[in-house]
Subunit: 351 residues, 2 copies
């Protein structure tokens, strides 16, 4: 994962020009979705949605803010850039179908670099069944800029908004929380130790899961499929990108409800816990505020308790309350803390 740069062919982007670069990057695209009438190569892509509703989401990723190419290989960055957009479509209970990929590229990057980025995008698209249908490439004065827009579809009566949570609904989250954040801490630490040394060889054994969660996150297409299989349409849903405490706030605000989250119910992988211990960090804070988990956070009516409990990888972490009760974390010792109150957002400020 932490690849050393080896000698590689380097083609200056100037030698291809913008149109040549686009041609090189898009020549192998095979369209897979019936709803894609026309992809790359005209002023706009043409999509054909019959009775389905169309979903649109977009993300802007900037070098130095969202990623550090010191430890993120470009192929991983391409994969992750695509996947985080798919995650937003799944969070509506939809299926991602098309993406556009725009890049701002400084002179530091070669055609091979950009091809590596696209290889990651294409791999993600293959895994998730999505077509690349357009984009824009441009010179940039500084660093790499990535902008991805994803279009998806969903039956009208199956779309899940942030605004549908009701009192007594169960709050569920898939997978585990905080690992991507600890992966980032680990990479940042090794980067500081590295400091340009030639013989640097970081040891990540036993921490592979944390790195994978940071460098190659997956969107929870599987959970959406399992919910559909069980006939469950959540009352509200969001993906955990900013951290559970920030994302449950969106659901509470838009649904005009409160929530009670139980600290002891938070799903945390043992690698996350061990690494938090090493870094002298509170693992609950990490799980609540770390972000970039790309897990699904959703609510279901109480009567679906048994059904939702059966879904592998889904954890019930709390329940929805009246709005006036606020957004509460019940700690292991039974004490109550306001989510996002002093102490619980310190980590976010640090980001």
């Amino acid at each position: 994962m932490y690849e050393k740069k080896t000698a590689m062919r380097r083609t200056e982007i100037d030698t291809l020009g913008e149109f040549g670069l686009i041609k090189a990057l898009t020549k192998d695209i095979k369209l897979i979705n019936g709803s894609t009438s026309k992809g790359v190569g005209d002023d706009a892509a043409v999509l054909n949605y019959g009775k389905k509703q169309t979903l649109v989401t977009t993300d802007l990723l900037l070098e130095g803010i969202h990623f550090d190419l010191m430890y993120v290989p470009l192929k991983h960055l391409g994969y992750k850039s695509a996947v985080v957009n798919f995650s937003d479509i799944y969070a509506m209970n939809g299926q991602p179908k098309q993406i556009t990929v725009s890049l701002g590229i400084s002179k530091r990057f070669s055609v091979e670099d950009i091809q590596a980025f696209y290889d990651g995008v294409y791999l993600a698209c293959e895994v998730y069944g999505v077509d690349v249908v357009g984009g824009d490439t441009s010179a940039s004065l500084t660093g790499l800029t990535v902008s991805i827009t994803c279009i998806g579809e969903c039956d009208k009566d199956k779309i899940v908004y942030r605004s549908g949570a009701k009192e007594n609904d169960l709050i569920c989250v898939s997978g585990d929380l905080g690992a991507a954040y600890m992966g980032l801490q680990l990479l940042e630490r090794e980067k500081a130790i590295y400091d340009g040394k030639d013989d640097f060889n970081p040891d990540f054994s036993g921490k592979e899961y944390l790195l994978e969660r940071q460098l190659k996150p997956e969107a929870r297409k599987d959970i959406i499929a399992l919910l559909a299989e069980k006939g469950i349409v959540p009352s509200s849903m969001i993906d955990v990108s900013d951290g559970l405490s920030s994302d449950i706030k969106h659901i509470c605000d838009q649904s005009k409800v409160g929530c009670r989250i139980f600290e002891e119910r938070l799903p945390i992988d043992y690698q996350t816990a061990m690494m938090a211990e090493q870094f002298n960090m509170n693992v609950t804070t990490v799980a609540l505020n770390g972000g970039e988990d790309y897990e699904l956070l959703f609510t279901v009516p109480l009567h679906l308790h048994d059904k939702v409990s059966q879904i592998k990888g889904v954890h019930i972490v709390g329940h929805i309350t009246k709005e006036e009760y606020g957004q509460v974390l019940e700690a292991r010792d039974g004490s109550e803390l306001q989510l996002k109150a002093q102490g619980w957002n310190s980590l976010e400020e640090k980001k």
Copy 2:
């Protein structure tokens, strides 16, 4: 247009935070299109397209590459950023309906600055009947990054691609060419003269059209409406963003045809001609390669000659030939030049 910065309220973006900024920027959005089921505020927007085809286009604009805030007011930048995307949808013979707006913002910008940008976006959306349905805002280490994606619709049998031009088709262009480029030259010259002087007061009288074409371009919604009114569906179409010689090349390449453009037919405003003279530039080169005109370049079958000639603001500038004849400019003196051949793309390299 060339506004001097006056004393204004400055709110640091940090005081609002990302969510506060988004809220401030989107609180006044009123949705106007029936196809917009749900706009800003969830993981993705929800669009409802029945029998129409959906069009998608995207543009990435970077400070220092695509715009210079020394002479482009932020409101104008917002307007232009939206309009250039609408232009791509019109170039498919479609109607723009929704956009997403993503911004990367450095500390140099205040909330008022970003609001000014959005005011321009909203104004463009009002003029063209488009809904803002989502986006992303992010910190940026350097300057302003703008990424806009536009979604539009069109009846399936009315979509116009770049690939449909046939031998003997007439080549038409709306409006006039080269003015936006001369406007840019003018602004660049004044910027060089300005050089930080306090009492600088550039005189742009008699050159307003050039500035307007550069700073506040319009997309040719009117031409699309006029074509529809006359029952004309062009055989191919593109918008002139890189310059006619580059854009007709896209049509020729994708349609597998050649073209013959007549120098004397190129529509050029007198302000463009005068300014080119002042700058000692060949006005034909400017018209062919200047770019940013956002006019429509399209082809129609020969039998529509009379009909298309009646459309105000549309000029027939040449015709489509067999592919083996190449892409030819017939100069005023009858000599032939290959479009994009040596000498004709010097300007593009300079850009």
